[in-house]
């Protein structure tokens, strides 16, 4: 019941955003609201799909998360400069996705934690050696590793939260909701705090919009909301929820700027055009790629 209520609360928030946007378009037609309208429309799609995934049986939810990994990895590789000789190693990378999510599905935690960081990471350069192209070998190997690390390994920790053992049926889904909800809230809070009273830039060369006030205000907001929601939605006690919120706030910021640095290195503004108003799927997932593994291990260490 708690899960359904929480999802309903999110839909109410989104409905409010849609109404505010509609009013803004009506009252101030001079300004360009297209980007915001597109963004909210895409949010509807994301949240409907996400809710369906959380409400569906585990195998279907895992398939959904595997598909998100697939699309994200595809987007990453479309951006990265590839060599002609990388074809076969690349195809092997995609085989890692179903195996990784299958390991989650059968709950083989030990194998899941080493499958990509040990076996796939050692296998990929070996397969590249067979292709025999040593020109910019190291750069390519790191690109392939980083792509898998973020879009498959790190992201799939969200899916692993779902199958953590629990007394009531929906605890796993509520953990996912807690993590994803706070990560998004953190993004928005950092943006708003930075916009309203930010002066000192944190990463001027990577992302000039990020300010110290944004970072601190965002982390504080996330920590406060986490302290309130943690004991309701998750097994976390208030002090532990405060810690979790702080961790999500800081790692969310790190994920955001690291993915920005990658885009800047490649020379693109957005990672893609898949989500109108948001850019690509990686632009939406950037913070989550860092918050997911850290939050997962935090909660698993202390509570499972």
């Amino acid at each position: 019941m708690l899960l359904e209520k929480s999802l309903a609360a999110i839909f109410v928030l989104l409905l409010a955003a849609t109404l505010v946007n509609g009013l803004l378009v009506l009252l101030r037609p001079g300004k360009n609201w297209r980007e915001l309208t597109l963004r909210i429309r895409t949010w509807w799609l994301i949240i409907i799909l996400f809710s369906l995934a959380l409400l569906s049986p585990h195998w279907l939810a895992l398939t959904f998360f595997a598909l998100v990994s697939f699309v994200a990895l595809k987007e990453f590789l479309t951006l990265a400069p590839l060599r002609q000789s990388d074809r076969m190693p690349l195809l092997w990378m995609f085989i890692a996705i179903p195996i990784n999510y299958w390991l989650i599905g059968i709950g083989w935690y030990g194998m899941f934690t080493i499958f990509i960081p040990v076996y796939v990471f050692l296998f990929l350069p070996t397969r590249m050696v067979i292709a025999g192209d040593t020109h910019s070998f190291l750069r390519t190997a790191s690109q392939l590793h980083w792509g898998l690390m973020t879009t498959v390994f790190a992201f799939s920790h969200v899916a692993f939260l779902l199958i953590l053992p629990s007394e009531s049926q929906s605890t796993g889904a509520l953990l996912v909701l807690f993590l994803v909800g706070l990560t998004e809230l953190n993004d928005i809070a950092q943006y708003l705090w930075g916009k309203s009273l930010g002066h000192i830039k944190v990463t001027p060369k990577v992302s000039p919009n990020k300010t110290l006030a944004g970072l601190l205000g965002g982390v504080a907001t996330t920590a406060v909301v986490a302290t309130i929601l943690g004991p309701i939605l998750t097994p976390l006690s208030s002090p532990m929820a405060l810690a979790a919120g702080t961790i999500i706030g800081i790692t969310g910021f790190c994920g955001d700027v690291v993915m920005s640095a990658i885009k800047r290195d490649i020379g693109v503004k957005d990672s893609g055009t898949l989500l109108p108003g948001h850019g690509g799927i990686l632009d939406r997932l950037d913070s989550l790629l860092f918050t997911a593994p850290v939050f997962f291990h935090f909660i698993r260490y202390f509570y499972y």
């Binding site: 074809r87 020379g267 503004k269 893609g272």
Partner: protein, 213 residues
């Protein structure tokens, strides 16, 4: 018509899953693609994927009315290939050697019937990302049917996904940018350079680096 059904099955079971699930098309300015023919669709050519990417832009019910123009010496080189090209891919064969009275007669006929024709003015698969010199077949075809619009399209990523000689397409996104319709211009030189300019502008739109904020 069993051939029509075969063709539909081919689009539905092979082309569409590969294009939309495995690869993924990212289309800019879809609204510029005319809903129905006649139209001459013109695109850059780097990969065998190109023709499938262009065919997937059209809805299923339109599939029977879209014809890629293809070299007869390559696509009709043996019996099986010829059957597949003519019946499933729906190609209009064109002789590259010339000598016939009018190599484009079949294209003209298709356009008169209100169909859409896909043409690669580079003639053959060129170097990825570099527009080879355009052949003037488009202009001759356009001269015969001056009222038919020419739709320029830029494809990016097909050669990464499926380079010459590879069998399995890599799962990478393909970017498709559709441009404004061009119309017949009596001056061949002007007409061809305009087409080239439009294609290069579309390339800029597709791959051009954006400033980062």
């Amino acid at each position: 018509m069993p051939k029509r059904i075969l063709r539909l099955m081919f689009s539905l079971c092979i082309v569409w899953p590969v294009m939309w699930l495995w690869l993924g098309l990212r289309i800019r300015h879809r609204e510029k693609l005319p809903k129905r023919g006649p139209a001459i669709v013109v695109a850059n050519h780097n990969s065998h994927m190109d023709v499938f990417a262009l065919l997937s832009l059209f809805p299923l019910c339109q599939q029977a009315n879209v014809h890629p123009v293809a070299a007869a010496d390559y696509f009709l080189r043996n019996k099986q290939m010829a059957w597949f090209s003519l019946n499933i891919l729906n190609i209009i064969p064109v002789s590259r050697r010339g000598g016939d009275s009018n190599p484009l007669a079949l294209c003209e006929q298709a356009l008169h019937e209100g169909k859409t024709v896909i043409l690669f003015p580079e003639g053959t698969r060129g170097e990825p990302g570099i527009l080879s010199p355009l052949k003037s077949g488009v202009w001759y075809l356009s001269q015969a049917v001056p009222e038919v619009p020419i739709i320029p399209i830029w494809l990016h990523g097909t050669e990464q996904s499926m380079a010459k000689g590879s069998i399995i397409p890599l799962p990478l996104f393909i970017d498709v940018t559709i441009g404004d319709a061009l119309h017949f211009n009596a001056d061949k030189k002007v007409s061809m350079s305009m087409l080239k300019e439009h294609l290069l502008a579309l390339e800029q739109q597709t791959t051009g680096n954006h400033s980062h904020d």
